[in-house]
């Protein structure tokens, strides 16, 4: 018996999304380095493809994302051509995926064919044997420049490179692996992400986080203004240890002789600044730092 309830239909409409409590995060400092690396890659690819890209077009790095390899393969175009590789020395699985539509346009431009609407049913014209060679050349050229940049920036050295027809052919990544995705496009007005580089998320650990420059933080301007801030200062005339009973016995009129005004110091909050000598004369008091009082008061 097949029974469908209202509840069941509602559940079918709402897309099920599993939320992962352990979602990996790339720290901001590393993210900035990765962005810089891939902006450089985009610029280099623009040079490599300058003969085949339409005039005025350039490869643009669009951003970083994290997803599971399974989800990425589900959402990526089926016609994408893939170069799989691993990043030495970590051996992290990685890939370079280029959309089929982009490859078709690049190949057509390379052999001087005016690009036509691909087919009536939206499918790309299959590559001929000659065109497949050009596709491999383009993939190799992009891969080579990417490898140069990765090695120079110590993100890893691409190794064991091989081309695949499908993303799921990658034997170095399993469906549940988290991958960091670097997406490239051609800017506003162009189709979406057309080149994607993906790597196992652990690969970003090889990026050395730039240490913050403390000197830069403490700029001269900040130091100058901080030094000019007013600080409230107390004059402490002395201290001594006393039993609770003696303390409780203190009463108005008692006189406490201070040790000649020499056991005094200046304090700001709980920080003792300088030992001082205090001289009192009528309504006038003079507070003078004592000899050898250059260091903060001890104990």
């Amino acid at each position: 018996m097949n029974v469908e309830t209202n509840h069941g239909r509602a559940a079918a409409v709402v897309a099920e999304r599993v939320y992962d409590l352990c979602h990996p995060v790339i720290r901001r400092a590393r993210q900035r380095v990765l962005e810089e690396i891939h902006r450089t890659a985009a610029a280099r690819w623009s040079e490599v493809l300058s003969d085949t890209l339409p005039e005025g077009r350039a490869v643009i790095f669009e951003g970083i994302g994290i997803d599971t390899f399974k989800r990425f393969t589900e959402l990526a175009p089926e016609d994408a051509r893939v170069t799989n590789f691993e990043l030495e020395p970590t051996g992290a699985g990685a890939f370079l995926a280029i959309d089929g539509a982009l490859l078709r346009a690049l190949v057509d431009a390379r052999i001087g064919v005016v690009s036509v609407s691909d087919s009536h049913d939206g499918q790309l014209r299959p590559f001929t044997r000659l065109e497949s060679v050009i596709v491999r050349e383009l993939q190799a050229a992009l891969m080579e420049s990417l490898g140069e940049i990765y090695r120079a920036r110590r993100f890893g050295a691409p190794a064991s490179t091989h081309h695949g027809e499908r993303l799921s052919d990658n034997l170095l990544l399993s469906p549940d692996d988290r991958i960091v995705l670097f997406r490239f496009g051609f800017g506003p007005g162009a189709p979406g992400h057309v080149i994607t580089v993906g790597a196992k998320v652990e690969s970003v650990d090889t990026i050395e986080e730039p240490s913050p420059d403390r000197r830069a933080r403490a700029s001269a301007t900040v130091t100058k203004h901080a030094a000019a801030l007013p600080v409230g200062i107390d004059l402490v005339l002395g201290s001594w240890d006393v039993a609770l009973a003696d303390l409780a016995a203190l009463k108005p009129g008692d006189l406490i002789v201070l040790p000649e005004g020499e056991d005094a110091w200046l304090a700001s909050g709980t920080v003792e600044l300088r030992r001082v000598r205090v001289t009192l004369s009528g309504r006038r008091m003079v507070i003078a730092p004592m000899e050898g009082s250059g260091d903060p008061v001890q104990g």
């Binding site: 030094a227 007013p230 200062i233 000649e260 700001s268 600044l273 003078a288 730092p289």
Partner: protein, 101 residues
């Protein structure tokens, strides 16, 4: 045997602070006060130098500062929580000429 609270506390450290002598100086100057420098404070004719007695940051008594030719002393005028607030002292800071030895 468990000691009583008073025995645990034993002796306390008492500090005498000249309360009206709360003044503000730039942080740079506070850090660089040196031998030979002086802070001079002068009160209005009807004012006295008041002090507060503090233990553990809590004022338990107040008094006034008195001095003769030989000694500096504080006379207790009130026992209990602080009654007068901190007042800004009118002070003048003189720096020793750095090229004089």
């Amino acid at each position: 045997m468990i000691p009583s609270k008073a025995e645990i506390l034993g002796r306390v450290r008492v500090a005498v602070s000249a309360s009206p002598l709360y003044f503000e100086v730039p942080a740079r100057l506070a850090a660089r006060l040196d031998r030979g420098d002086a802070i001079e404070v002068e009160l209005p004719s009807d004012a006295k130098f008041m002090v507060r007695f503090m233990a553990g940051g809590i004022t338990f008594a107040e008094g006034e500062l008195c001095a003769d030719s030989e000694r500096l002393a504080a006379r207790i005028t009130h026992v209990g929580p602080a009654r007068f607030g901190k007042e800004q002292g009118k002070c003048r800071i003189t720096r020793k000429a750095r090229n004089s030895r």
